[in-house]
Symmetry: C2
């Protein structure tokens, strides 16, 4: 299949298509690893039936800019490897202490805490290895830019900082909406936002206006997605989200809907959704796939 | 100072010189991080008075091939960030459960387990960020090669796999010397060996014979270094190594000197030391600095 043809598929079809491609990348990189136990722990978490929304964003963006599919494989695998490592470490007893993940025992419950720490470390490192070594026709400077975007989004200027603030600030009931939104952007927003940037980097497009649009779109969707997540935590049923209802309340963490109420949180999502659409407005029909995707992500029930 | 002048310094002088340069890189990247607590945990572990042997290997190799100092900063910081993250995670209660590191409370004792997990994650991610974003005059293809070498050495084909085998196999008293050496190579050998390769990559040299020599030297020194570490764990005094004596015995792990006795372990180091020297024999006086370094690393008392 050619990248452009992705645009003719339904979102469910794209999801199946991208999942198959991702599984192939994972298999290539994991089949010859040295520790069977480590491999099992990594695979258990990678193949846990997650929605793989981040890869979907990568491939959808790539479809707009006609990026080679193999370049998109690199970007999508890298971001999903990082997302997956973060879930494993988040679930640890010393972090969110979650025993279940998507209806199955969390990685540390299945393989032990030490192995879960290592599986997370190994997945994070593997994301770097995939970008550096995948035989895709991706130029070195674009690989470097992908690493830059991903490490900014997930390290001490991104996700890891968001998690640290989560541990230290989020139980403080005096935090402002501004600070809360900053933490949201760090915790999940930046990594989600990086997906559209990665999709663009995988292509040969060099129009910076397009890159800016991808960044803006990603930024708005990323923040809205996290607020939506917190609403689901309150409203959603255990079976749908696959994790115990109200886990954040149990941990006494501050969230947007708890600060402002669910109605106001939904209005905030609506506004961010509109801003995301506005950012890509100039792209006309080409970007239709991202409009559908934003709708799907922000109207989800799990 | 010019890179070539490093050759005229004593090893102690090089160590001071490289430490100052490293501290500068760390400061540049950490000063504007978003979470103060995360930054403190990262700095606490980065500035713990460690020997920084890996950076020393990088700069020493760079001195041979006249690599730009800023390129060496990138490589040295990246490998030390990875080494430091691994120590933090190793010390966690679910891993080696070590309360002390170099005479001070381990990171998780000082900042809590959750923050220690995040500090490790953030350091690992930062190593990627430094390679991708440092303004050194380092070409994109060499940056990508550095990432490839480092991720191979530290991820599911390297250190993480070694640690996983350590958790699962090392308490089994039926393991062979061959398997034990394989685990050693994965656990510490490959990352140490990567230092000379990184030093070469930081230069403009493109003679593959030199790269091969650097790899061979690194491989022999890396394995010998780990065996030496295990001898020190048995022989060394708590004050020197900064960690409780016999910690590996307490954890009932198998080590080379425990399997073969200290005398035989020292003979193995001697043999590896000679092989390391042999690998760089053709380089004559140019490589004198690596000969001294091998001697220092393998004859150390702490």
């Amino acid at each position: 299949m050619k990248t452009m043809e992705i645009r003719n598929l339904s979102l469910d079809e794209i999801m199946n298509f991208t999942s198959e491609r991702l599984n192939h990348v994972y298999k290539t990189y994991l089949d010859n690893t040295t520790s069977l136990e480590l491999k099992n722990a990594m695979e258990y978490s990678l193949l846990n039936g997650g929605k793989r929304l981040r890869p979907l964003l990568v491939y959808a963006t790539g479809a707009i800019f006609n990026a080679p599919l193999e370049n998109l494989d690199v970007a999508a695998a890298a971001v999903e490897l990082i997302h997956t490592y973060s879930l494993i470490h988040d679930d640890l007893p010393c972090m969110d202490d979650a025993a279940m993940r998507r209806g199955r025992p969390a990685c540390h419950k299945k393989f032990g805490e030490g192995m879960a720490v290592l599986a997370g470390d190994a997945l994070l490192t593997l994301s770097m290895q995939v970008i550096a070594s995948h035989p895709a026709p991706l130029k070195a400077d674009r690989r470097v830019q992908m690493m830059d975007v991903l490490s900014q989004a997930s390290g001490p200027y991104g996700m890891a900082a968001g998690q640290a603030l989560d541990l230290t600030v989020m139980t403080d009931d005096s935090i402002s909406t501004r600070v809360l939104e900053d933490i949201y952007r760090l915790k999940t927003g930046k990594l989600l936002a990086s997906c559209t940037e990665l999709g663009w980097l995988a292509s040969k497009d060099d129009d910076e206006n397009n890159l800016d649009a991808m960044r803006d779109y990603g930024r708005h969707v990323g923040l809205a997605f996290q607020i939506q997540d917190d609403i689901l935590d309150i409203e959603g049923e255990g079976e749908d989200t696959g994790k115990p209802k109200n886990i954040d309340s149990t941990n006494q963490k501050f969230t947007y809907p708890k600060m402002h109420g669910i109605k106001s949180a939904k209005e905030r999502i609506e506004k961010l959704y509109n801003q995301a659409l506005e950012a890509i407005n100039f792209m006309n029909d080409d970007a239709q796939i991202l409009r559908e995707l934003a709708k799907k992500m922000l109207m989800r029930k799990s």
